[in-house]
Amino acid sequence: MSGQNDNLEDLMRRSLAGDQRAYADLLRETARLLRPFLSRRLRFSNEVDDLLQEILLSIHKARHTYDGQRPYKPWAYAIARFRLLDHLRTHYADQLRHAEDYDELEEILPDDVTESEISYESISAEVEKLPAKQATILRLMHHDGYTAKEVAAQMGMNESAVKVAAHRAYKILRERLER
């Protein structure tokens, strides 16, 4: 264990001196170390990969704050934890925003659902009549529970485009269901 630690510190010292091979080894070793740390805390493997990339970039950006005299692992884990918390904060803020989206959907429904002619099936049927992209977005967000960010990643769109498309879809649904 101590040998591996010495190795990491040595790799970092050589990286700071401009050794490209040592730097590649160090980043590879860091990714190997951090993957289980992130996997235990995140649900999806694509999330782990994205965050791991972000952490490696942060390590690259902050490498001048490591002087080679102190253990490498606490330094790298401090950055990993910082980025993880940042990610979770954004993720949960996203979830809260989606909670508002659900509220919007609930507004479409009449007060007394049991006496309504609008059923889950009728909403689903209306969703299927939407343009394909909007229908997929609503299905992913409200049926499969993905966040706008995750939907954006899956569909190759940016996050705000997903939100705009979802918003337009709600409007269309509202109009159709109120008829």
Binding site: Y23, A24, L27, H64, P74, A78
Partner: protein, 211 residues
């Protein structure tokens, strides 16, 4: 996995020799040195309080200045440690400002208890807070500029501590410049605004030090 390999390949190509950041002790020494010089120059320009000889034999005044100076030194050290992602692995020292802050509060409380009969209140009030805020502008700008070059993972706390450090420079200047023995005035218009400044620092830290 391929993306990560690609990223590693890209980043390793950028591996040029890097000059490591200075040790936080050295960094805080630079900050305190610059701030002390600034304090001396400001005092030279505005003048030391004319009754300084009498004031420096007053035990509570001396204790107040000493603890305020300690707060300035320790907050500078703490801000320098907070500039590093792992607090330079000196976590306890990063939270050390609690000690001079508690001592300072105790001194102020005891000085207030000892102020009988109370010294007359000066005629001015908020001017003192404004003067301190103006004086701290330069140290604040310098510290934040310096902090931005590192990688704080506690950016809110770093902002707050940096602002408290700059505020203590302003507060030291005013105590050494203004002829005023009223501890009630000092508490209300010199030191209570510190709380607001600390909170403002949390916000400024998020705004300026997030990376």
């Amino acid at each position: 996995m391929n993306d990560i390999e690609q990223l590693i390949a890209g980043l390793s190509k950028e591996a040029q020799p890097v000059r490591p950041a200075p040790h936080p002790y050295k960094l805080s020494l630079q900050w305190t040195g610059a701030a002390t010089l600034y304090l001396i120059v400001t005092l030279a320009l505005t003048g030391l309080r004319p009754d300084w000889r009498e004031s420096f034999v007053e035990p509570w005044f001396v204790a107040e200045i000493v603890t305020l100076f300690a707060l300035f030194i320790v907050t500078a050290l703490s801000a320098a440690l907070l500039a590093f992602p792992d607090l330079h692995q000196k976590r306890l020292l990063a939270f050390a400002p609690v000690v001079p802050a508690v001592l300072f509060l105790a001194v102020i409380f005891l000085a207030w208890r000892a102020d009988t009969p109370p010294a007359p209140l000066p005629e001015h009030s908020i001017e003192c807070t404004c003067s301190i805020l103006l004086t701290m502008l330069l140290p604040t700008a310098w510290t934040f500029y310096s902090l931005r070059r590192y990688a704080s993972t506690h950016y809110r706390l770093a902002g707050s501590i940096a602002l408290l450090c700059a505020f203590s420079v302003g507060a030291l200047w005013l105590r050494l410049h203004e002829v005023n023995d009223s501890i009630a005035h000092v508490v209300e218009w010199h030191y209570l605004p510190m709380l607001g400044v600390g909170l403002l620092g949390l916000w400024l830290g998020r705004l300026l030090l997030k990376w």
